[in-house]
Amino acid sequence: MAKTVVLRNVTKKYKLYEDSKEKLLDIVLPKSFGEDFYALQNINFEAAKGDVVGFIGINGSGKSTLSNIIAGIIPPTSGELKINGKTALIAVNAGLNTQLTGRENIELKCLMLGFSQAEIKKLEPHIIEFADLGKFIDQPVKSYSSGMKSRLGFAISVNIDPDILVIDEALSVGDQTFAEKCLDKMNEFKAHGKTIFFISHSISQMKRFCEKALWLEYGKVRDFGLIEEVMPRYEKFLKQYKAMSLEEKRTFREAAIKEQMGQA
């Protein structure tokens, strides 16, 4: 199977500064100021055509950072990242220009993704039909509800025909019928052999849709494999985690954070 996404030792480091003076010194001087924080540490995994990979993990484990890196929005600090094909990210707050109308946003987004005028003309009716916004398509986006915005964002992202689709919590807004429509579309993508990354806190949605799972814990891969194998372990961990006393939870988190600061 052709590999579409390969990550080798991908690390994303952020800097934590105590005040703005430190930040400025860090930019200007070659010496390093501020504390390191590893949002992702030595991530290794591969995904092939037709894979549907779910990212699981508790809050702050780096799921969104990883999806942003795969979508090409933020660059990794170090490590090797190979992406074969066009990526599209669907997130709740898809970057839309609220002053412009829905239709203008479609054109603008497609332009930025590098489509020509003729291609946009062809895509536009599909996107409008999928978004199903009725008359609102010619109204400025600032008058949209959050569900309408995410529908528009989703419609644009799926209709540009990406090879790799990253869905970050985008199905949690919008009503049931739209979620069904999206899942149908995603199943269609799956059948076409596209790679899909799926992030959701809904375990049932994960189980229904994903084949593989990548379990992240504080910036590191804890487990990667078939969903039938990983999910029970994750659920067991969640149960344990929930059962921990506040004190235990804190020590667990502190140890993890220490590791993320690169001190362990």
Binding site: G72, L100, M112
Partner: protein, 276 residues
């Protein structure tokens, strides 16, 4: 040097993108007003009127210095001011918008594969349309002021292009710095406010004593653009040729800005998102 080539290549390869995006930029800037794009003309006109009242009528006329001597000709204050200030509104807007172009739009762009260096360019181009409209209106006014269409107009395209290249080069620097350090935008705002008084837009600096001050003022490349527009519209001289040393100086500065800006931009652009 590699980064300069990268930036220049991106500018030319993405020229279609620049044209399209600048149209949307203009649309979204004016979508809230009933008069829309017309404000881009009305606003400068109101300012021109007040500048004429304060400086022309209030200060120079009442001091008996209503005319300005330039290239051996006596020119009344109003046409003198109008012929230069028409480019100021473009420079002013382009510097301000250009310097905040990257950090206000990076979320919207959100793709590393997007040629980042065209962000300031398309913002500047969206201001160029306004400039061309204003220039057309001003040129019509000049037909009634006794400065009819003349052969020196053919210098105008040269000065329009020079202005664009200068602004793009400058914005590469300012947009990068203000993305990293947001305070820089504040500094730019105050500097631009000063700049109108330090360039020959509102008062003629031709007879300042000691002479060294005139030379220092000429170090400002905007001086060259203002005088160039003026010479073209009023039909005074072949400015770039007659002041060829100054032309060389202007392009020297512009190319240096472009080189420095490209290096800075390319060095930081992968990390722009991290600075948000």
């Amino acid at each position: 040097m590699r980064s300069v080539l990268t930036v220049i290549k991106e500018q030319f390869q993405s020229f279609y993108l620049v044209r399209r995006l600048s149209v949307y930029e203009m649309k979204s800037a004016n979508s809230n007003n009933y008069l829309g794009v017309l404000w881009e003309i009305i606003n400068p006109m109101i300012q021109i009127a007040i500048y004429w009242f304060v400086f022309g009528f209030g200060i120079f006329h009442s001091a008996g210095r209503g005319d300005v001597e330039l290239s051996g000709e006596l020119i009344p204050y109003f046409p003198w001011m109008l012929s230069g200030i028409v480019v100021w509104f473009f420079i002013n807007q382009a510097i301000l918008q250009g310097s905040k172009s990257v950090y206000t739009r990076i979320k919207m762009i959100s793709k590393m594969s997007f040629p980042m260096s065209v962000i300031p360019t398309f913002v500047i181009f969206s201001k160029l349309y306004q400039h061309l409209m204003l220039l057309a209106v001003v040129l019509v006014i000049f037909q009634f002021l006794g400065y009819p269409i003349n052969i020196f107009y053919i210098q105008l395209p040269y000065f329009i292009i020079s202005t664009i290249v200068f602004l793009v080069a400058l914005s590469l620097i300012t947009s990068t710095i203000s993305t990293i350090v947001r305070d820089f935008q504040m500094l730019i705002q105050s500097l631009v406010r000063i700049l109108i008084y330090l360039s020959p837009f509102l008062w003629p600096p031709y007879h300042l004593q000691p002479e060294i001050i005139q030379i220092i003022m000429k170090l400002n490349p905007i001086y060259y653009l203002a005088e160039g527009y003026r010479a073209s519209i009023l039909g005074l001289s072949w400015y770039p040729v007659e002041h060829w040393e100054y032309t060389l100086y202007f392009w020297g500065i512009t190319v240096s800005l472009l080189i420095f800006g490209s290096i800075l931009h390319v060095k930081f652009r992968d990390r722009f998102v991290d600075f948000l």
